[in-house]
């Protein structure tokens, strides 16, 4: 099989992993070396495909042969997909060639599980070792790890990689039992806890005054959860994510709408990917991480799923009208962060400017804020929303999109607007 054919198969096999981050790595670069590579700034998206996803890393599998039978996965052992396997040198060469042309930020290497977890991990680590030690590659490396691999191998992977990740896949063991019978939630979390320990350990050593620089270790771990493959509610999904952020300090939880695959399983019928739901989960995730929201404020046991037609912050504000209006000139930061249409950066700008000036609507317009969204919820030096407006039932209706956008038509999935997309990334709701 030639290299082009292998690349076709093993890139196709890797595309269901949503992670593309190349930011947050330790600062390093190629100056003074014969190699190439740098990390440490914000990540760069070198291209975009028409699915709206960024192309930042060469994302491939070592092999798509796999012992496991995860029914959402095209590479499961029951699938009839063509199998292929890269040699370590082929991946090394592809990474370097792509990197030198500035197509990519680095390598995201994963693999189907062959023979055993340890054997597979050794193959993956071998590629990273060659890149770092033989070719002095200082670009970004993200390695997928297997929870059942031995701790020493996970530790070794962390020495070569900028990021390591284990996909949690589904938020409950019940879901895994049906769809990914080899996987185990508890073992995954234990492995994440172990990785967190390693990351923390290195941070602590770095801070010791006068101590020698500790060997490198990945600066973060991330994971991915499938959305819509099992009946888990948004409250369950967000609760699981929240736990991973707080207990294991994950940098990112990626949500991936289960989308049709070429080799459907009889256990998991194909359906339209719930893209809007995925988008709302990302917005909710941002509220948890940067806006001090709690899971039960966004999705509660009595109302466990997000409103698909409104962003979760606006939805919260409409359910909590007694909190509003918020005075732009007087309210504390935590309250400003609750205002629909105000993101973190603009809250900071408001706090800073109001020390010197009383803010008026014209000032907010100059910040290019979404005034239609803001006006019912704020007080400025020259504006107070009509009491009736905030109480009236028509307020929610005012923010609902036109009804045709709510239909999930599979042939033409609803397209988030550019603003939705930007908001999903920046968290500015």
């Amino acid at each position: 099989m030639d290299l082009t054919r292998k690349l076709e198969i093993l890139a196709d096999a890797a595309k269901y992993d949503a992670s593309c981050a190349s930011s947050g790595a330790a600062r390093k670069d190629s100056r003074g070396s014969q190699g190439v590579g740098s990390t440490g700034g914000s990540g760069i998206c070198h291209s975009y495909t028409p699915d709206g996803r960024c192309v930042s890393l060469l994302k491939v599998l070592m092999t798509n042969a796999c012992l496991y039978d995860c029914h959402y996965c095209i590479n499961r052992r029951s699938s009839n997909v063509t199998r292929a396997r890269f040699t370590p040198d082929e991946i090394v060469q592809l990474t370097l060639d792509f990197y030198k042309r500035n197509y990519i930020e680095g390598l995201f290497l994963s693999s189907g599980i062959i023979r055993s977890a340890d054997h597979t991990m050794e193959l993956v680590i071998d590629v990273a070792r060659k890149l770092r030690e033989q070719h002095h590659f200082r670009g970004y490396i993200h390695l997928k790890t297997i929870p059942e691999a031995s701790q020493s191998l996970i530790a070794l992977a962390g020495q070569y990689a900028d990021r390591i990740s284990i996909n949690i896949e589904l938020p409950t063991q019940q879901g895994l039992n049906t769809l990914a019978p080899e996987k185990n939630l508890l073992r995954t979390e234990q492995a994440m806890g172990h990785i967190r320990g390693k990351i923390d350990e290195r941070h602590a050593e770095k801070r010791k005054p006068g101590a020698p620089k500790p060997p490198p270790f990945a600066t973060g771990q991330s994971t991915q959860m499938l959305v819509g493959a099992d009946p888990s509610t948004d409250a369950t999904i967000l609760g699981c994510a929240d736990k991973l952020y707080s207990e294991h300090h994950l940098k990112r939880v990626y949500y991936s709408a289960f989308s049709p695959i070429p080799e459907p399983s009889s256990i998991l019928p194909l359906q339209a990917p719930p893209l809007i739901r995925e988008h709302r989960l990302y917005q909710a995730d941002w509220l948890l991480r940067f806006y001090d929201f709690k899971v039960d404020e966004i999705a509660s046991p009595s109302s466990p799923n997000l409103d698909l037609s409104l962003d979760p912050k606006l939805s919260w504000a409409l359910r909590n009208r007694q909190t509003f209006p918020v005075d732009i000139n007087k309210s504390p930061r935590e309250l400003l962060l609750r205002v629909p249409g105000l993101g973190i950066r603009n809250v900071q700008r408001i706090l800073s400017a109001r020390r010197y000036t009383r803010l008026r609507l014209a000032d907010l317009i100059r910040l290019k804020l979404q005034m239609k969204k803001l006006l019912p919820f704020i007080v400025t030096a020259d504006h107070h929303p009509a009491r009736l407006g905030l109480d009236s039932d028509s307020l929610r209706a005012r923010f609902l999109p036109p009804p045709e956008q709510l239909e999930l038509n599979f042939d033409a999935p609803p397209q988030p607007t550019a603003i939705d997309f930007i908001s999903a990334r920046s968290g500015e709701l």
């Binding site: 890139a11 670069d29 070198h46 495909t49």
Partner: protein
């Protein structure tokens, strides 16, 4: 009204602005231009600014960085705005001015900085190097890229390439200025036409293979792609010619998936590792919480 004509770069503006400020020149008395061939209609010939006095001018450090970045913007109004901000921050007595993001001048400064920073980011993303030769003595690979920035960002954007691609020789050609790295130093030459840069690289086909296969036809979001990769960049991206076909074929490809017969689950093969997993999974987890 005096017209101040400077070369279009930040250091020239800074030197001139220092002298004008030392003379307490009010911004309303000045017209700024970086185009020596088009003096303004109402201008008087400007006497050369006198030698600078020794009065130190102190501005918030953030202003120097913002001004350097805004100076790379192509707006012809930038020199005047930068001087007005400098005046307001110093003689105007508004030392806290940069804290007021809602001030129209500050807003304009930040908008220009944002446009410049986005342009730099897109240059870091969309430059595509093409291998042109390998130096026979040093054995260093030599790469050339073509890029068309919106603003005058070559000097601001290229330290990144020096750090990232120290181990290879490279040139980035643009219509107004070119940057080069030879392993020892980064240097600049005047702009060149598009025809000076190579069109293709032997690896482009393999890159297109990757691009085609990493695309998921079951989740088409064209507006999301275009907001981050606007069409103006497409003509210099080797993968962009694939976009139209990928979109056109996506619904057929999804239809094929939906009409594929579902595959039954195959029994587990005889494998010691799978057997050990099965045994582990059957052990009750004492502290397992069902959520």
């Amino acid at each position: 009204m005096r017209t101040i004509i400077i070369p279009p770069d930040f250091d020239a503006w800074r030197t001139t602005a220092r002298q004008l400020l030392a003379q307490s020149t009010h911004p309303d008395e000045l017209l700024w231009s970086d185009n020596p061939t088009e003096p303004s209609l109402f201008s008087e010939p400007s006497p050369p600014p006198q030698a600078s006095t020794t009065t130190p001018i102190t501005v918030p450090p953030a202003f120097v960085d913002l001004a350097r970045s805004a100076a790379a913007h192509t707006s012809e109004k930038r020199w005047a705005l930068l001087y007005r901000l400098l005046w307001r921050l110093t003689l105007g007595g508004e030392r806290h001015l940069l804290a007021i993001a809602t001030d129209p001048d500050v807003r304009q400064l930040q908008d220009w900085c944002k446009a410049v920073s986005r342009d730099i980011h897109k240059m870091h993303a969309f430059v595509r190097f093409r291998l042109v030769a390998v130096d026979t003595t040093t054995r260093r690979e030599q790469f050339v890229a073509w890029f068309e920035p919106d603003h005058r960002i070559v000097r601001l954007a290229t330290p990144f390439f020096e750090k990232r691609f120290a181990g290879m020789d490279w040139s980035i050609l643009t219509p107004y200025e070119c940057a080069h790295w030879d392993g020892q130093k980064r240097y600049f030459t005047p702009g060149v036409p598009r025809s000076s840069a190579p069109d293709e690289d032997a690896l482009d086909d393999l890159w297109r293979t990757y691009y085609r296969n990493i695309f998921n036809p079951a989740r088409v979001k064209i507006s999301a792609m275009q907001s981050e990769m606007p069409k103006k960049y497409w003509k210099n991206l080797p993968e962009a010619p694939l976009i139209a076909d990928l979109i056109a074929e996506s619904s057929t490809r999804v239809h094929d998936m939906l009409t594929t017969p579902e595959r039954p689950a195959k029994p587990a093969p005889n494998n010691a590792y799978l057997e050990s997993l099965r045994q582990m999974n059957e052990q009750p987890n004492p502290d397992h919480k069902t959520s």
